[in-house]
């Protein structure tokens, strides 16, 4: 863990030599936080979250709007963003908890798209497809705007905190229950636990992470546009998670680094970068469904708590299925 932090901390100094711009790595770190949010639901709870971009976007717009109209400190603005994401989650979670598997995924797409259309339509609030510009944050005691490197360290710090929080959550009894739900929900219920309530909280936590990522990304890019709420963006988060290894703590980071940095590098070399990205997805799904980290861990024998390629969900117990069917 320390090695990783040190490596990342020294990145700005490497940057000119390895030609990876600091901004891109910042973006990758923030992307990783959003990927973690997807990981919590997909890798640990077993629910594919294809609507998390909506929470990401709520976080971004919440932060931007509070900076614009309330003139608050950027930390407060970030909290506003997370609050907006949580509120959004509170609205949709009661519906989402009632479904599992691919129904959960599809429902999350539906809700995500509704938020997307709202962001597009309400030009007066969100700026519509022109987007909204978001000022870069000011440091606490001084008044100069955070330059690239400073913002990078900010992202790094936030990322490390998020990672620690994530680790704490998944290794706590709460987190273990989520994994148990994924592996055998019926048994969890038999043990007297209300699995729906756990899923509900998991959705909220996931939204919090996504909102955090959104708020900071908005400040990094200085901009937020409705495209960030589209289900393709949600799909990107899920993809980064799977690429790195869903169900592992470090997986999302690895997946995000590969995705963001890879996309940046390849798109500079060729306009046909999308072919490589698509090929990467295909190769990943076929070749290492456990993700890169997951596959390495499995080979070494230290397979993490929850990371087997999923059996088709229709082997799930009839009782649970009956509950979540129409």
């Amino acid at each position: 863990m320390l090695v990783a932090i040190v490596l990342l901390a020294l990145e700005p100094f490497f940057a000119p030599y390895i030609k990876i711009d600091v901004t891109i790595v910042s973006a990758a770190l923030l992307f990783a936080i959003a990927a973690m949010s997807a990981n919590l639901l997909l890798g640990y709870t077993g629910l594919p979250p294809f609507g998390n971009a909506a929470f990401f976007g709520l976080g971004a717009y919440g932060c931007g709007l509070s900076l614009k109209y309330l003139n608050v400190h950027f930390i407060t603005a970030t909290l506003f963003g997370m609050l907006a994401a949580l509120l959004g989650a509170l609205i949709v979670a009661p519906f989402l908890v009632r479904r599992r598997g691919i129904y959960f995924g599809l429902l999350s797409i539906a809700f995500g798209q509704v938020f997307y259309f709202i962001a597009y339509r309400f030009t007066s609030v969100t700026g519509g497809e022109d987007g909204m510009s978001v000022p870069r944050p000011y440091l606490v005691f001084s008044s100069f705007t955070l330059k690239e490197t400073a913002f990078y360290y900010l992202s790094l710090v936030v990322f490390v905190i998020s990672l620690l929080a994530f680790k704490l959550i998944v290794q706590s009894p709460f987190g273990r229950t989520l994994v148990a739900i994924r592996q055998n929900e019926l048994r969890v219920r038999y043990l007297g636990l209300d699995s729906n309530r756990f899923v509900f909280v998991a959705i909220l936590i996931s939204a919090g992470f996504a909102g955090l990522s959104g708020a900071l990304s908005a400040m990094l890019n200085g901009f937020i546009a409705p495209l960030s709420l589209d289900w393709h963006q949600s799909g990107d988060f899920v993809l980064a998670t799977i690429l790195g290894g869903s169900g592992t703590v470090w997986g999302p980071l690895i997946g995000s680094l590969i995705y963001e940095i890879g996309r940046d590098i390849i798109s500079t070399i060729t306009p046909y970068w999308q072919i490589f990205l698509g090929a990467l997805f295909v190769a990943c799904v076929l070749g290492f469904p456990r993700g890169i980290l997951g596959t390495i861990l499995a080979r070494v024998g230290a397979a993490p708590l929850s990371n087997e390629p999923e059996e088709a969900n229709w082997t799930q117990s009839p009782a649970i299925a009956a509950d979540h069917r129409g």
Partner: protein, 290 residues
């Protein structure tokens, strides 16, 4: 307001018919193997491009209309054998992600081969023009789409219910293990099923480029409404896809009349409602996806 509703209802029905063709293809693929084909739109676009190239080289529309989907099916069979087969039996999320990756590749390949710009594709003269229907003038081409849908569905029904192969297909949807035990080559079955779904996609694709511009992303814009159709109509039911399509078509058209701002988002709202209240859809089967 009500006197305007007539033409809108008619519009909606025709639009719904179109969505239904796409949805049926998706549904076929989903039912048997649980594969969620996010590349369905790419196959549609492929057929459209193939038809365009054929017509540009001098063949007539009808030949292209038949040939392009068939070539698309050939591509599909290769894709199915190499890329999709390993995913059978796994969580549908994987097929979703894999086919999503395929659609990214496809979009760029189209860009490389045919260029980024929209290509001019017009229906043949025999299908152009409008038909005076009393309360409105209606494009002949759209009526053609309805005719194609009816024929396609009739052909599909015939195939499924009156041929031995269709019988096996229906049996496999119900119980794959049993039919494998009885000696059917299930792998072949899956491939043919996929091919059938793509055949419909190809037909829909050629039809689509008569309505819309032909560019690398044409098919993808139709993908989401098609998925919503399958969900609302019910996964596992082909009849449901038709009803679902018509519902969506009507919803979109009527919304344009009364609440235009909502006419595109209404399908997602419907999808959310169906998934919340009755996830298997109107005519779907229980337990298909747990």
């Amino acid at each position: 307001m009500l006197e305007h509703a007539g033409p809108q209802i008619f519009n909606g029905l025709v639009l719904g018919a179109f969505y239904a063709i796409v949805a049926i293809g998706l549904s076929l693929i989903m039912n048997l193997t649980g594969t969620i084909n996010m590349a369905h739109g790419s196959f549609m676009t492929l057929a459209g491009y193939l038809a365009f190239t054929m017509i540009a080289r001098g063949t007539n529309f009808w030949f292209a209309f038949v040939a392009a989907p068939i070539i698309a099916v050939l591509v599909a069979v290769i894709v199915e054998r190499t890329l999709i087969r390993p995913l059978y039996g796994r969580d549908p999320v994987y097929s979703l992600l894999l086919t999503f990756g395929l659609s990214l590749i496809a979009e760029e390949v189209f860009h490389v081969i045919w260029g980024a710009n929209t290509l001019p594709f017009a229906p043949p003269a025999s299908l152009s023009g409008t038909l005076a229907l009393g309360f409105m003038n209606f494009p002949v081409y759209r009526l053609f789409i309805v005719v194609v849908l009816v024929l396609a569905f009739a052909a599909l029904a015939l195939f499924l219910y009156y041929t031995r192969f269709g019988l096996r297909l229906r049996a496999a949807v119900q119980d794959t293990e049993m039919i494998a035990a009885l000696g059917t080559n299930t792998q072949l079955l899956y491939t043919i099923n996929f091919g059938l779904g793509i055949l419909l996609a190809g037909i829909a694709g050629v039809l689509a480029v008569g309505l819309l511009g032909l560019n690398p992303t044409t098919g993808n814009t139709l993908l989401m409404p098609a998925f919503v159709t399958v969900i609302i109509g019910g996964m596992g039911s082909l009849y449901g896809s038709i009803v679902g399509g018509i519902l969506i078509g009507l919803a979109t058209s009527l919304m344009t009349l009364y609440v235009p701002a909502a006419s595109e988002v209404v399908i997602y709202v419907l999808m959310a409602i169906v998934l919340t209240i009755r996830p298997r859809g109107l005519f779907g089967e229980e337990g298909l996806f747990g």
